[in-house]
């Protein structure tokens, strides 16, 4: 009984802190401690969200953003993975490429926009490029690290059992690097949404980054805060997805099976 209850409780405990924060915030809003014009209470934010939902705009924006996010993630994550694998496996290539990648990664998206417009125009490609570029690095860095840290004893074993290069990769390198790769994916799933706020300043007219920045521009604090909360929720969603992936793909790993 008590155990079952505990189980239930612990399933919700991930939500405890956010919920408490929201309640405190609402209370502070009503008490007048937080100026509603700058940080409107959650209830007002909900109202704004409801209006946008009703008009169908929010759903549309989410759909547009989700498309950009997922496509960008697929492109950037895929490339990051490939680069991570290639550099993790070949020290020659990693000497050539790693530094360059670390340099590129350090260029702020905001500063890149003029160049992006030059290269891709103001259509969808530029936005995808930015998302992809943002997503690339966490996946790359963690894949590279994961592969470098694969137990060399197991690699030797794979070699002397006559596994082909592809088999060594599939059966040893990849599963060995997977915990680390998933950390990268988890991080990237967050970045994927985050980049949109910059990407959707490029001549966009829909998307959650767009409405958030637009709300910022026109001081619709309730919509702005809704945007913030939406981002947080998407972060939580990404996190949940990553956790499920971890639990599924790392079934063999004791550290990932508890709680």
């Amino acid at each position: 009984m008590i155990r079952a209850l505990r189980g239930r409780l612990s399933a919700f405990s991930g939500w405890a802190v956010p919920v408490v924060l929201l309640l405190v915030w609402e209370a502070l809003g009503w008490a007048g401690v937080l100026p509603a014009r700058i940080l409107p209470p959650p209830s007002r934010v909900l109202l704004a969200a409801w209006k946008l939902l009703e008009s169908g705009q929010l759903v549309n924006d989410m759909a547009v953003s989700a498309r950009r996010a997922l496509l960008g993630f697929a492109l950037g994550g895929g490339l990051g993975f490939v680069l991570g694998v290639v550099n993790g496996l070949s020290s020659t290539l990693s000497r050539l490429l790693d530094s360059t990648l670390q340099m590129i990664r350090n260029i702020p998206h905001l500063a890149l926009i003029p160049l992006v417009i030059l290269w891709f125009g103001i259509g969808e490609q530029g936005k995808l490029f930015l998302v992809a570029e943002g997503v690339l690095f966490p996946v790359y860095v963690n894949t590279y690290h994961g592969i470098r840290n694969v137990d060399s004893g197991l690699l030797e074993m794979g070699q002397v059992y006559g596994l082909s290069r592809w088999e060594v990769f599939r059966d040893i390198v990849l599963p060995g690097a997977l915990p680390s790769i998933l950390v990268g994916v988890r991080y990237a799933l967050g970045v994927m949404w985050l980049t949109l706020i910059v990407a959707e300043t490029i001549a966009a007219s829909s998307g959650i980054g767009y409405i958030t920045m637009q709300a910022r521009e026109f001081m619709q604090t309730d919509v702005l805060v809704m945007g913030i909360l939406l981002y947080a929720a998407l972060g939580k969603l990404a996190d949940t997805v990553a956790r499920l992936l971890e639990r599924q793909m790392l079934r063999w790993h004791p550290a990932y099976q508890k709680a």
């Binding site: 030797e156 002397v160 596994l163 088999e167 059966d171 060995g176 997977l178 063999w252």
Partner: protein
């Protein structure tokens, strides 16, 4: 890949291997005929595992050369399979898949049968982390035996097993070798085991072959047999006379251990 008809022919000459200032192999010569079963004994740290790593091509010699079937070895040795001193199971593959690793092409039934042979029927779907030390070792043994190589290198394959299981596994190794006729090189610390299984027992000492005893007994060998006992005794006393590789545990140490005399020999 089907069972190899005939094992690999190995020639090693003037093999040297250094780790930093520590020269482990100092010009080792060895020739192993195809299908021969060689046991290697020697003190801890004398270079047995290093020799196996060199033969499998995982390590490159500093000097000297290795010939496999008449061709000089450079890079990995595709004819060799190694059972390492540590089990090296893939933690993310179930026991059965670990066993089948060497033989992607073979039906899973063979792997299942091999698991049964090493006494682990029913554990097919377990993760390696759920096995005991000896069970892990047996999974690694099953994997090595299933791979049907021309040349099988076994690094203390039965060290973590109890006496009874050990004898069963010796029987298994011997029978599979007998059928497959691959060249087998096995590192072991158990002289009796060496005599029971091997055509030759090679003693490594000071980075060289110090003794190369041909065991001229018919198979199946009987441990109760007098000649078996004599060979074993002779080998044991030679091994026990031991060249120190590491510093021996002497009584002249600063820690005042009240030394308890240990006498050796067998009944």
């Amino acid at each position: 890949m089907s069972t190899v008809d005939y094992g690999a022919w190995i020639r090693v000459q003037g093999l040297r291997k250094r780790f930093g200032r520590n020269e482990v192999l100092k010009g080792l010569d060895l020739e192993v005929e195809p299908g021969q079963f060689v046991a290697i004994v020697g003190r801890s740290g004398c270079g047995k595992s290093t020799l196996l790593r060199l033969l499998s091509g995982l390590e490159a010699p500093d000097e000297g050369w290795i010939e496999i079937n008449g061709r000089p070895l450079s890079g990995r040795n595709p004819a060799a399979r190694v059972m390492f001193q540590d089990a090296r199971l893939l933690p993310w593959k179930r026991v059965l898949d670990n066993v089948a690793l060497g033989r992607r092409d073979a039906p899973l039934e063979e792997a299942r049968a091999m698991l049964r042979h090493v006494g682990l029927a029913g554990r097919e779907r377990d993760w390696p982390a759920q096995l005991s030390g000896g069970q892990k070792q047996r999974v690694a043994l099953a994997r090595a035996l299933l791979s049907h190589p021309a040349m099988l290198l076994l690094d203390e394959p039965l060290g973590a097993l109890d006496a009874l299981t050990r004898i069963e596994m010796q029987g298994l190794v011997e029978s599979l070798w007998w059928r497959g006729r691959f060249t087998a090189i096995m590192v072991t610390h158990d002289v009796e085991e060496a005599v029971a299984l091997a055509d030759r027992v090679v003693l490594l000492e000071h980075g060289r072959v110090a003794l190369d005893e041909w065991v001229d007994l018919d198979r199946p060998r009987k441990r109760g047999d007098q000649r078996f006992g004599a060979i074993k005794e002779r080998l044991l006393s030679r091994v026990m006379q031991g060249g120190a590789v590491d510093q021996p545990a002497g009584s002249e140490d600063s820690l005042p251990v009240e030394k308890v005399a240990v006498s050796l020999g067998s009944s």
